[in-house]
Symmetry: C2
Subunit: 164 residues, 2 copies
């Protein structure tokens, strides 16, 4: 009954922060250096190709409460979603489309919810520019879970590496 | 009483779509090719350095209802915000931090609201993974303003160029 995170990229990092303390999390990444760093920070990580059937089976996709797919590479994300959907037709799969035009492709691959951070950000910025005040309330809620300076530094280091 | 958009990048594009029909918009970009394409699509564009005092004066920052600063380059954004805040102490300035750790810097530069699309996207994906259904409602609202295939293609072409 864990959240299974397939691959690790810029966007996965704040997701991990949000999930911490709220659910068991298991991360699958093909990058050994990322595995080492994430393990040092206390995360449970398996080093294996996130879109591979055997890897996902070892990561117990069949018993996951949800699957998160949010690397910077939407093509890799699509493959990982197709595999997860095949192995577990019932699980909730949520995904992030790095390019806006890939939202529908990731849905067709089997994701239940696909977010485009660019579209979301644009929506709230436009509302804010036009005078909506709801954005500040949302911001305040988000700031409560804002990363510390040290987290931001760790993130910067990770940003320099290749992903998945 | 226009929304002044300082610079043009990946994130500015969906903001322009959201603002279209809701407010007069004036875009300031240093990139002539972007000016040409945006003009062809019916936007009002000035080709000039978005962080320059004289450019912002010509773009009537003093009478703008809001200023939007959301290129992919947070350092350029900071400069543009500092200039706009100096020329118009009262205007609402909204900005997007491409790197999460720059949120507070853009605020210190003078922005009233700073959004981190990555933090926003992570927030909604994590909520969705943990079983919140509010995300789907939000998604539905956003999908109503989703870009057409042609828009997505125009965006892809623009993505290949340098920004601001
Ligand atoms: Ca992605
Ligand atoms: Ca930015």
């Amino acid at each position: 009954n864990h959240v299974l995170v397939l691959g690790h990229g810029d966007l996965t990092e704040p997701i991990l922060e949000e999930l911490t303390g709220k659910s068991d999390v298991l991360i699958l990444t093909g990058n050994e250096e990322r595995t080492r760093r994430l393990s040092e920070r206390g995360f449970t990580v398996l080093t294996a190709d996130p879109s591979d059937e055997d890897s996902q089976h070892r990561a117990r996709v069949e018993s996951a409460r949800a699957v998160v797919v949010a690397t910077n590479n939407d093509a890799e994300d699509a493959l990982a979603i197709l595999t997860a959907r095949q192995l577990n037709p019932e699980v909730t799969i949520v995904a992030a489309a790095t390019q806006r035009e890939n939202v529908n492709k990731l849905k067709r691959a089997g994701a239940d919810t696909v977010i485009s951070p660019a579209t979301l950000g644009a929506h709230f910025l436009a509302e804010s520019a036009l005078g909506s005040t709801g954005v500040e309330e949302l911001e305040r809620r988000l700031m409560e879970g804002e990363p510390s300076e040290e987290d931001a530094e760790a993130q910067t280091v990770l940003d320099d590496e290749d992903e998945t």
